[in-house]
């Protein structure tokens, strides 16, 4: 039963990705200028012959629909093409970048869920208390503030006022030859600001959501029963209430994954984090079509996979849904 559901989800996923590929392909070509122009720009000029040979080399002299067809058939065989700009296969460029992005997104996700839910639970205990008010204000502000602004403010603060965290990059180049654990520490050190920046928006949402969800659950009969049995406050909150309140959080966590990846694009750009988001940003400016397409392809694949996983975990967490289509 679960297997057929999985198949169905996968089928939707493939269709969705096909749509993403076609739409992106057409959208990016609406932008004025082409890669040959960008390459000429990097070189300080080029001759006519050179421009047309670049266009011929990349197949840009073909009709757009032909190019689209060639691209889709290549993608179907797992070939994402060569980057116009970096002279490397898109797959290898993405392979270099996907690790940092996943690291950033997962850490930010974990951070926002753990802290957000914790804040929400604390707030739900006394819905009219000062902590609850603080959580509400913090949540609204955190959600409203653009992620790049938060990033820049953190950079300013930690660069000039309290310089304990590095403000750009993923690793210090001087640590290149250090022991592996030092390198890991170095990466963790670099990860703090970008992860916090990215987590703040979502943290706010989880806090609001878990506060609301907990308040609802805390008013229900079985909580009163648990309390009547003499269960401690901590057990009531975290064992009885949170388990039920967690379902909507789980749903949102899965849906948020796509937003997190797009948020990562901005955060990576602000913090010079060597991930896929920055690769996408750089490629758009350079009209590096295969790289943009490749990054979007991978990003949408990650979202599809995350949604499927959420779906499955949802079923695991909630016995009522098991076996339902």
């Amino acid at each position: 039963m679960t297997f057929s559901i999985l198949l169905k989800r996968l089928g939707y996923g493939v269709l969705l990705m096909l749509g993403v590929v076609v739409l992106n392909f057409l959208l990016i070509r609406l932008a004025p200028g082409d890669p040959a122009m960008v390459i000429a720009g990097e070189m300080g000029g080029a001759t006519e012959e050179m421009l047309s040979s670049i266009r011929a080399e990349y197949g840009l002299d073909q009709p757009v629909l032909t190019q689209l067809w060639i691209y889709i058939s290549n993608v179907a065989t797992g070939d994402l093409g060569q980057s116009y700009f970096f002279n490397q296969s898109v797959t290898s460029l993405i392979a270099q970048r996907i690790g940092p992005t996943i690291l950033l997104v997962l850490v930010a996700q974990l951070l926002s869920i753990l802290l957000g839910v914790f804040m929400g639970v604390i707030a739900a205990r006394r819905p009219n208390g000062p902590i609850s008010a603080f959580v509400s204000v913090f949540a609204t502000v955190g959600y409203a503030v653009p992620v790049f602004w938060t990033g820049i403010m953190l950079i300013i603060f930690f660069a000039s006022v309290f310089p304990i965290f590095p403000v750009e990059g993923m690793a210090s180049i001087r640590m290149r030859n250090a022991a592996w654990y030092m390198q890991w520490l170095d990466i963790a050190h670099h990860l703090v600001l970008p992860a916090v920046t990215l987590a703040i928006i979502y943290l706010a949402q989880y806090a609001r959501l878990s506060r609301a969800s907990m308040m609802e659950v805390l008013g229900s009969d079985y909580i009163r029963t648990a309390r009547a049995k003499g269960a401690g406050e901590r057990a009531v909150l975290f064992r009885h209430a949170l388990r039920n309140a967690a379902l909507p959080i789980l749903t949102v966590a899965g849906l948020q994954f796509g937003n997190l990846i797009s948020g990562a694009l901005l955060v990576e750009t602000v913090f010079n984090w060597p991930g896929m988001g920055r690769l996408a940003f750089d490629s758009i400016l350079r009209r590096d079509y295969p790289t943009i397409m490749g990054v979007l392809f991978f990003a949408s694949m990650m979202v599809v996979v995350a949604n499927i996983l959420t779906d499955l975990s949802y079923r695991l967490a909630d016995p009522r849904l098991r076996g339902k289509g």
Binding site: A40, E42, M43, G44, F165, I173, R174
Partner: protein
């Protein structure tokens, strides 16, 4: 909450100690911070400063240049130009080897020059080269169809890397050759590791043909595209050298940093000129008096001292003012609004006109700010200016190269000899739609064509200067472009560094004498 505060405290201490654990300066390593992302490292087929900087470290060239524009031996220990100017003989050093240990021979020189001739975007560099003869392993004779005084500057590190024939001559397309990103070079540094768009790690070439060089063990280019993050890295010592710095805010901020020094002189041969270009094919701009009126209305001093806070140098003509070919007597068009209005009236535009100005989306204060300044300034002579923004380079280049513009702020580079970077803007046979930095102004003057053709082949330097002087007089009178200033390509570096590349090619020179002082 005490737990939380303790946790925070512990985290800060850990973070602080990690920061402190980083060595301030690693011995023998210099970290260059750059905003430039190279496509690859093969300067034989890719020009521009992004590739040029690493390429000049990885590859040696026949010649290099001193601060007075005089050629100096590099891979060629000596050279002779024949009387008729039709052949140039290079005598190569004996013991030079590529990074893979193979000897560098005249065959490689011949292969490199012919490859550049066929593939480099600056066609004029080696266009007159008919062949390169190799009478023996260490002698290369360049045969020319006509005298070519630009040849020697074209053999500089930034333009003429000597690449190994046994690697790049394997029949694969040189422009997308895999060895372009994994180069086997001939220069002072070898590529150890490249992370596209992130960092370029170069290590010392222990068998470099110049004894005792390079001085450093490691040269690392760290690419930081966000300028504010880059400045922070320079301030706190995470990077040691920042080339091609061109924003006044950056310069002013790093000037205040105690451990940094700034060089504002290097790189004159790169020759970046910031100018206002006119589409002379536009009916409104075909009369040179309108173009002159605009030039008289623009206050160059205000731009340099107020908009650029004094960091740019003025530039009056098409050839860099530091170049031996610059003619000092050309008019400067010092601001004169009355004269400007009179010229507009003479041209029949007493009631003014509407114009649109585009700008290259580069360093904001160099192009966009000037474009915006033009709106208020030209308003004073009755010209109603609309500033048309471009979100990115391809958008702007698409418009300008297809002659879809009236005025545009642009920066065009000299690249050494005028033949390489100057002629292209003015030659009437270089009006080519779709090609950026060709003669997009549609300027055509047979006399200019003739002067440039003569200057391209004149081997007598004095006579050549005269030809270029006449050319400069004409084009500063007819004004297809109005040069305003030189882009302030400055280099910020740690004061403890010696041998910082400040010559005519600036950071596009081999950094083989760069070192930490004792």
């Amino acid at each position: 909450m005490t737990f939380m505060s303790r946790l925070l405290g512990a985290a800060s201490i850990a973070a602080l100690s990690l920061t402190a654990a980083l060595p301030a300066v690693a011995d023998g390593t210099v970290i260059i911070a750059s905003t430039q992302v190279p496509r690859h490292f093969n300067g034989a087929v890719q020009s521009g400063i992004a590739t040029g900087l690493p390429s000049a470290q990885i590859f040696a060239s026949p010649l290099r240049y001193d601060d007075n524009w005089e050629p100096k031996p590099y891979l060629a220990e000596s050279w002779e130009v024949s009387e008729d100017g039709l052949s140039v003989t290079l005598n190569l050093v004996d013991d030079a080897t590529f990074h893979d240990g193979e000897p560098i021979t005249s065959e490689d020189v011949a292969f490199s020059i012919m490859t550049i001739k066929e593939n480099h975007p600056f066609k004029s560099m080696f266009e007159p080269v008919e062949s390169v003869e190799t009478p023996d392993e260490h002698t290369a004779v360049i045969k020319l169809s006509q005298p070519h005084p630009a040849l020697l500057l074209a053999m500089s590190p930034a333009l003429c890397p000597i690449i190994p024939k046994h690697v790049y001559g394997d029949g694969e397309d040189i422009k997308s050759h895999p060895a372009n990103t994994t180069p086997v070079g001939s220069g002072p540094f070898m590529l150890e590791e490249y992370t596209p768009g992130e960092s370029i790690v170069l290590k010392k070439n222990p068998n470099f043909f110049l004894d005792g060089r390079p001085k450093l063990d490691e040269l690392i280019v760290r690419i930081i595209q966000d300028p504010s993050a880059l400045l922070i890295a320079m301030e706190n010592g995470e990077a040691d050298l920042y080339p091609f710095m061109s924003g006044s805010q950056e310069v002013k901020r790093l000037e205040k940093v105690d451990h940094l020094a700034i060089d504002a002189e290097g790189g004159a041969a790169i020759g970046p000129i910031n100018w206002l270009a006119f589409n002379t094919a536009s009916p409104k701009l075909e009369d040179k008096r309108v173009r002159q009126a605009i030039a008289y209305a623009v206050d160059r001093d205000f731009i340099i001292n107020a908009l650029h806070r004094g960091i740019s140098k003025p530039q009056r003509g098409p050839i860099m003012e530091q170049s031996p070919f610059f003619d000092d007597t050309i008019p400067a068009y010092d601001v004169d609004l009355d004269k400007a209005k009179a010229l507009m009236e003479e041209a029949g535009y007493a009631d003014g006109m509407d114009l649109t100005v585009d700008y290259l989306p580069g360093v904001k204060e160099q192009q966009q700010t000037i474009a915006e300044y033009l709106r208020s300034q030209l308003g004073k002579i009755g010209i109603n200016v609309t500033v048309r923004a471009a979100p990115d380079f391809p958008t702007w280049a698409g418009r300008v190269s297809n002659h879809d513009f009236e005025l545009t702020m642009d920066a065009v580079f000299n690249w050494g000899d005028p033949v390489i970077g100057v002629h292209r803007t003015y030659l009437s046979d270089n009006i080519r739609k779709g090609v950026i930095w060709s003669n997009t102004q549609s300027y055509s003057n047979p006399k200019v064509d003739e002067l440039l053709a003569q200057a391209a082949v004149e081997m007598d330097e004095e006579k050549r200067k005269e030809l270029y002087a006449e050319f400069q007089q004409i084009v500063t009178d007819e004004l297809p472009v109005y040069p305003i200033n030189q882009l302030p390509y400055q280099t910020a570096y740690d004061k403890k560094l010696t041998g910082v590349p400040t010559g005519i090619w600036g950071p596009l020179s081999p950094m083989d004498t760069l070192d930490w002082s004792e």
